[in-house]
Structure formats: structure tokens, C-alpha cells
Amino acid sequence: MAAALCALGFTGAVAAEPLGDALTASFKPKGQATLQRLNQDETQKACSTGVVLPGEAAAKVIADNTASIRYPAQGQYLGDWKNGDKIAQTGTGFQSSDDPAKPAGGNCYACHQLAEAEIAYGTIGPSLKQYGKLRGNGEAMLKYTWAKIYNAQAFMPCSTMPRFGHKNILTEQQIRDVMAFLFDPASPVNQ
């Protein structure tokens, strides 16, 4: 620690040092956020270039992520919309400052408009206002939406949306609840 502090500043003399080495040396584990989190999977690596992926690489990201999708047992797509509402509002989970014993939120409102009454919504993702009302709740639409929440990169390579199912951010039951929040006619999303 003391040795590291004596050398504050960027040390690379000429060429940029390898990114992985610099990251490992520049972060310390804190709470549940271990250094392992700095290691990338193949999709993360492919999506870190800052430029649009060439066709072949994009196709591989789609294929890899499509293969990861697990659909719910007995086709039970819908849970409790009230609990889904809470999950959509909750922004905590997986941060070094969060209690790992508490369930993580989905933080949907950070990026999406959902219920009309909630005006504090973000705009990184599209509006999902009246999601179910506009699309109906046919089997194909339920299946597609489940897959999109489970792993958005199966549809859009390098999407900014977290892969909630694939990366175990939300449990299967939590995804059901979010699905109900989107599709239930009684949900404030569909008013």
C-alpha cells in the first residue's frame, strides 16, 4: 500500500501499458466488488472497442447470447406486477456499497419510461409506457420480452442493457414480476 502510494500518477513511459495490468493495479476489492469483476467475458471484450462491431463479430455476440437464454418452467411468464413495480424502482444491487444479502433491483426507471405517473425516468432506453396494452400478451410477445430481459444482447449486440437473467442480476421469479409489471392490464404501465 505504502509503496503504491509513493508512486502516484501514470507510470507508463512510452507505450500504453496493457490495460488488464493497469486495471488490476488501479483497483482494490471493496465489499462484494472483487477484482474478478474486472475480468471480461467474450461479449464484454468484443463490445469494448468503442466502434460498431463488424458483421461477423456482431453475429457471434448474438449467437453466444441467444444460447444463454433460459425460459421459465411450464411457460410461467407472469408474476406479481406490484413486486415488479418495486424491482423497476430499485436501483441498488451489486454495488460495493450494497448489502449482498438483499435482493438486487432492476433499476428499469433509470433508463426507461414505464408508468406514466412516474416522471423521474431516464432516456437511455426506449419508452415502455403501455407496453402490454400496445402489444398484447400473446405467447410470442411474452417469450420475446422474457428473452429481451434475460439477455438483451441476443437481439442487439453490445446493447447497453444489462443481461439480467444471464448474469444472474435478477432471479427467475423477479423477472416474472417485472414481466407482470409490463403486461398485466392492472399494472400502472398499462393505464
Binding site: 502510494l5 500518477g9 493497469a22 483497483f27 468503442g50 451489486f94 444489462p162
Partner: protein, 268 residues
């Protein structure tokens, strides 16, 4: 003094937000910032920083008046507009914060571990000398145009490492800096997000840090801003003055070239 000010701010914020519900095209932050006029509590950090800067401290009983922030020994005015940069004496690229730590160590004999015991303050019980010293040095560049040196190979290498870090996706949520800061006109909840790949947004964002954060009642530095962004990215703890912290600051500062410094600014 500060708690009274904070209470007033809460009222101001609430009224500004209420107004926004009715008219969403107005900016509540801009509104209550306007209520301050030219007043900014950051001045308390600047004053404390100036006292610290000029106090004889440490084993060498020296002040920081000989500190070279890049424009020559003792020159504080304008220096922040040309940082980070490569320092020959240190043999590395340093941002303002790591340069201050280096000056305190070499001139005053204060070990970095001591100065960095509290990097980010938390109320009157836990004041950060680094935040105060940084505020003082930054304020001395108010109104200056960003002009980050980009000649030395180490400066270019730092920029490149910073660029790669900016786009580096990792963690359970696949987040990178670019997840939130690579598109224009977006927001998280109601918070507008600067597009840090766009020159105009980059200038406006970079030149407003450090800033007094009303919601925290604290002056926050760029090192704090980066550290807290990585916390929200679900990544581990970015170390103060580390290679990645300095490199990312180099990337952001260089992209803000030509912007006029308004820091320490006032933020929600």
C-alpha cells in the same frame, strides 16, 4: 453555518423540482443554481485549502509555495487548465491531486498515506485535506481555457489507456463509462448525462469539476467523481492517483481542451 445553508437548499431544491413537474422543459438544477447568484459554498474549501497550502507543515516544516504544478515553482494560477501532464521530476504523468500529494511528500516530507487518510470528506468530523487543497488550486484557474499538454509520449500513452478504460465493459451489469456517457441528450432518471465523446459536452462537464455537491454538502474532486462512477458500474474501488485514475482524467481533460474552467462549480 453549513446546516442552515443546507436546510435552505433543501427548500430551494424542493420548490425547483415542483416547478419542473409542471414544466418539464425547465432545468431544476439550473434554476436553483441561479438562486445562488455568485455564491458557492466551495469557497469554504478554497479558503481552508489556501491556509493548508501556505501553512508550514510536516517533518520539513515547509509550506507548498515551492510546488511546481507545471507552470513553474510557486505558480498556482492557470496550472489546473494544463493538467494532467508529464512531470520530469516525478518521471510520470500526474493529475492535480497526485501532483499535490507528490509536492507534499517532497517539499514537506508528509507521507502520501497521511495526506490520503481521508480522500473524500464526510461532514465536519471527517474533513479531507485533499479536497481543500484541490479546491484552492482549481479556483486559481477559474476562467482559464483548458490546454492540456500532449507532446510527451507518456501523455499520449496515458490518454490511450484512458480511452480504452472509458470503453471497457465489465462486471455483472456489463457497464463501462461509455454506457452512460457516449450518447447525446440522454439522462438517468432526471439527471442529464454529458456525452463525453462529444467536444462541447466534454468541455462543459470537465470544466465544472471539482464541484460543491448540494445533496452531499461536500466539495467533490474529479478523483471522487471517477471513483463513484466505478462504484455505480459495480466494479471494485478505483485507487486514488492510480494509473487508471490519472489516465482517465487525461482522456477527459484532453477532450475538454478549449473549454473555460468554471470550477469549483455548484451541482445538485
Amino acid at each position: 453555518m453549513r446546516s442552515g445553508l443546507l436546510k435552505w437548499l433543501v427548500v430551494a431544491l424542493a420548490s425547483a423540482l415542483t416547478t419542473t413537474v409542471a414544466a418539464q422543459d425547465t432545468d431544476p438544477i439550473a434554476e436553483y443554481r441561479a438562486m445562488f447568484g455568485d455564491d458557492n459554498p466551495a469557497v469554504f474549501w478554497e479558503m481552508r485549502g489556501e491556509d493548508l497550502w501556505k501553512a508550514k507543515r510536516g517533518p520539513k516544516n515547509a509550506d507548498l509555495s515551492e510546488c511546481d504544478l507545471g507552470l513553474g515553482k510557486g505558480v498556482v494560477a492557470g496550472a489546473y487548465a494544463q493538467l494532467p501532464r508529464y512531470f520530469k521530476d516525478a518521471g510520470r504523468v500526474q493529475d492535480l491531486e497526485s501532483r499535490i500529494v507528490w509536492c507534499a511528500e517532497t517539499l514537506q516530507g508528509i507521507p502520501p498515506s497521511e495526506l490520503l487518510k481521508i480522500t473524500f470528506g464526510n461532514g465536519d468530523d471527517q474533513r479531507s485535506e485533499m479536497e481543500a487543497l484541490t479546491a484552492y488550486a482549481v479556483a486559481a484557474s477559474k476562467g482559464q481555457k483548458m490546454a492540456v499538454p500532449f507532446e510527451h509520449p507518456a501523455e499520449k500513452a496515458a490518454y490511450e489507456l484512458g480511452r480504452q478504460t472509458f470503453f471497457y465493459r465489465a462486471g455483472p451489469h456489463d457497464f463501462s463509462c461509455s454506457t452512460c456517457h457516449a450518447a447525446s441528450g440522454k439522462r438517468i432518471r432526471l439527471q442529464a448525462l454529458p456525452n463525453l465523446t462529444d467536444p462541447a459536452d466534454s468541455r462543459a462537464a470537465y470544466t465544472s469539476w471539482p464541484a460543491y455537491r448540494i445533496s452531499q454538502g461536500e466539495l467533490r474532486t474529479m478523483e471522487w467523481r471517477l471513483n463513484d462512477c466505478f462504484r455505480q458500474q459495480r466494479l471494485p474501488d478505483l485507487q486514488y492517483g492510480s494509473d487508471v485514475a490519472v489516465a482517465l482524467t487525461m482522456f477527459l481533460a484532453k477532450n475538454a481542451d478549449g473549454g473555460v474552467l468554471s470550477a469549483p462549480a455548484l451541482k445538485r
